[in-house]
Symmetry: D3
Subunit: 229 residues, 6 copies
């Protein structure tokens, strides 16, 4: 029942690289506020910002055997996405596996569990988003799956999906939607940079976004002071 | 039922600035161990230390509309304090709102919810204490209140209260008690700096504070080893 | 019923210092994946790495009196290990106690509760692993124990045990097992450095560890694509 | 600095009793979705439903001394509301204090901490909403306050406020707003009972509430199947 | 971007009913330890055990509008599965919606958020698995989706999947795998009932499962007492 | 490195049975507020109250193999105490293992992890205190230890220690201290029953315990109302 899918369709590298211009929040907005992984996945060090193509890996609780299997499936530009089949914060991943992934050109790790060797990962500049930092070791006894659709951090990740991760968290973009999302992200970024300039100049969002009338219609009242009870 | 109170009585600026000399722990002690917000409110970056006058803002879960309304009520020297009406860790606040507040001279944000654009907030040096960092976006559909008394992080905050926040958390000081608290904080700081010097010189707290007799009276015994079972 | 044990058998200093060459994960592995404290104990600042001999201290919830008592029992090279008798995240420990410990040559604090003055602790370079950073003050009313066996972070700590703490967490080594653990840690480190070199050179863990046959025996299958449903 | 306020203005008993007709959710809605305490306050046994006038009590962490002081301030029809000054789940309250309150006609306890003797409290039919059930004992060393405004479960409770608690949680009603809230609660209940009958008869909320047009305007589309990717 | 898919392929009723013979743990095992939702989804009352066909509903945080839309898509034998797009424990669902679903023959609700009217839901015998019980109300402002693939409790649910829920939690079975899972569940149940009889008769699992040799090979040793340190 | 200690010294049965007269809170108080396990260990059903002699079992995360080994070491009157070597809430234990333990006269299970088959455990009247109820299955691949000193729920449990568990949680009593604790528990119970009668008759704890003078000395003041700000 345990499989490794070897032939993963990836987005074109040129498309993936374009995501590097956008943060997680922008991409999440650009795709209609979808695709975000749980806020419990935090970067081991900050700042960090990566984009890449997902290789997915399902592991048993307290067992990192399948990560070794997944490494072989990774190519330059990939991001490894690991999820245990039940909640676990053991340290599945440390500096040796990071060295291995780094030598293969992998850009980072997203893991809904714990990692260890945090100081070395930081020195190596290998970016990791994890649920915990914990020295607890794991065994190599139970199989899992590589490159099957996997729920990680509460979001569905397909192998070949595009992953973007930064200090705000992690977002997934479906491979076939990548170009459409880029268009929307660019539009949003352009709009935001104009708004940013106006806000920095002291204009109010109330005016820039034209909110005053709708607020009044909903019943917002301005008073000098609260009435005495 | 939704109101914006526009006329907030603030402490004198000179009084507020005097709080900058003290940390959160000192002020909390100076006012009899009261006024602390929950430890779940953590700074986005460290070190950070701000003092200012509270503008309060109640928002609906997943809805940051009222923050835009609150911005207009902020003046230089203010700190914006935001609390959702039910627990929520969505990213209510990002770099655009920070730019807007910064352009108005606001000193920071305390929010019992999530924020996003953490990397940019850090670069901008706009200090934020929040419950989460999470890219999840919010809508603009539901009204709330600005400048009504608000529970944030388990503490009651009135508009115009003085807020002090540092790496240890956030504390609120009632406006009318500000000067009395300053006197006590100064006294405490002076006493502590003397104690600190003696401790650094190797004296024991047991002796400096004269604790030995009371410990003995309560029944503390010194033994060379535990008795065998 | 409250005691302070004054005569703590410590490991030889030379033995303790040898642990400085190893991280928490390595030592935890070297002793058969035992001895780890809970992942909820996190360093106040990173990176940090200490080794030393445990002085244990049991405190009442919200009461740091016994820490003052424990300070006197500390010698250069010790690490203070504090656990409350019921879960508590109050700020038991701040810069004054840190100054006192530092003046006595104590190397750090492990506390299954909160600390405060985080910014000053960082400036002072006094390393602390704690469950929370929280300005909440404590009282001095209730006795506890010093240098009795104590559960901290879910692990049993005896006074005189060796403590190692780094960015991955905290591990305890029994005093009488110290030399045996060092031998295993050295062996592990040597083996890992060879493996690291091979992984950096692009070899796969699957091959270095000879995992392929056992994976196949367990039933792992490689497929080009998932079968259609 | 520790005070007991002895003269608490209470709502008329007849007004308070009228709240017994309504659940927490209804009252919370009737007052504009305000006044709810945290969902972490859960009943020790279910079902349970009480109404009464608040006596507030602030206690130190791990110290239940002030509850004994508060008991004396309680009258028949009151509900005791206890909050620690920092988070604590110790068992502040057990069958002896329950017997004492019950003998005074007190209707229940709301406590943002732990209780013990859960089996006996259930047998006695003394209703309690707490954050934890935990046998951990407390001391009697540190003062607090009785009948000062107190934040409990994230909501501000004034002595003399009306408390309603049921299986859904706990809500507070300001004393001066009690009659207005009752009017709205009655209106809501009446409206809901009509809607309930129609729903039970198979009508849809979409039609009863006339939601279809607004959903369409917002852009909701009905499709037979999702488009192929 | 918001859609309601109206034409959901369901498994045959006869197939679905066969699942009623098995608990969640058995089905989870029968499908290779997959399909389990998070343990944070707990039944409002116990015991409870339902099987049915999933109708999925994605809602905004603090906004239950789409549940009203989803009700219309439900048929007798369905189970409604609701997930917010960001974590939320507000009370999305109460006795009115339960009355509506019950009148349509819906068998229960799985919701990765809060519900209210817990006492009435229990009286009505409408089974609900939720993350919280919380009176906090919701608004009706923001669209979502009905009957699109949805992650709920960390598991992917497709509309038309089979849901089984009992006191141990909730499990999802893919529609096309239903018959194969039933075969395995029956086999497991038969095997377990034989083992149960032998265990009740005092035989040991060590012998029934033939574990002794493999334990010895792995290195398990039996000793009368631990060696002295 | 994995051992099963077969020769466990147990307290006399007659001594153990005497503990059945006391609840967890009473015993915890009788031994100076020590010995309590974490409040996260909750009974699967209430009410429940057991006493017995501990058999300890250390298991790997997600692996219940050693529980099968531990069963053989259990005798009538024992209580099985299980702790994973890293935090885990998988369902290690279900109705089959319960049947096996019940057939051997074991009185219950304490497990710092999850269990499943909660409905059947309740019907069988096999009492369990666990951290979670979760259907997630476990594997049988990794060894652990039976009857070595084990930290469970944050407390040290030696094999042969006496365990008492009820609706308030779980407490451990050292075997050699059992008779001394019984004497203190009886004294406490006798004293409490007298106090209970006086409290039920309306006397105040303030008077029974003679607290008024000490409260006044500490500075407690009674006022009719708070001073105006």
């Amino acid at each position: 029942m345990s499989v490794v899918v070897t032939n993963v369709a990836r987005a074109e590298g040129a498309v993936i690289e374009k995501f590097a211009a956008y943060g997680v929040a922008t991409i999440h907005e650009a795709q209609g506020r979808t695709g975000l992984l749980s806020s419990s996945l935090r970067p081991v060090y900050r700042p960090a910002h990566i984009v890449g193509s997902a290789i997915t890996c399902q592991v048993a609780p307290g067992d990192n055997w399948m990560i070794h299997v997944a490494v072989e499936q990774c190519r330059p530009g990939d991001i490894l996405v690991v999820a245990p089949t039940s909640p676990c914060e053991d340290g599945y991943f440390g500096d040796l596996l990071a060295a291995s992934l780094q030598s293969r050109g992998v850009r980072g790790l997203i893991i809904d569990a714990g990692v260890r060797d945090a100081a070395t990962l930081t020195e190596m500049k290998f970016p990791v988003w994890s649920k915990a930092i914990f020295a607890q070791g794991t065994v190599k006894e139970t199989l899992g799956n590589v490159n099957v659709p996997t729920v990680c951090g509460g979001a569905l990740i397909n192998p070949g999906d595009i992953i973007v991760a930064d200090d705000d968290g992690v977002v997934v973009v479906r491979r076939k939607e990548a170009e459409a999302v880029l268009v929307k992200a660019a539009a949003r970024e352009e709009k935001e940079s104009k708004v940013r300039a106006r806000l920095q100049a002291g204009e109010l969002g109330l005016d820039i976004y034209g909110m005053r009338q709708r607020l009044a219609e909903k019943g917002l009242r301005y008073v000098e002071a609260l009435p005495e009870e």
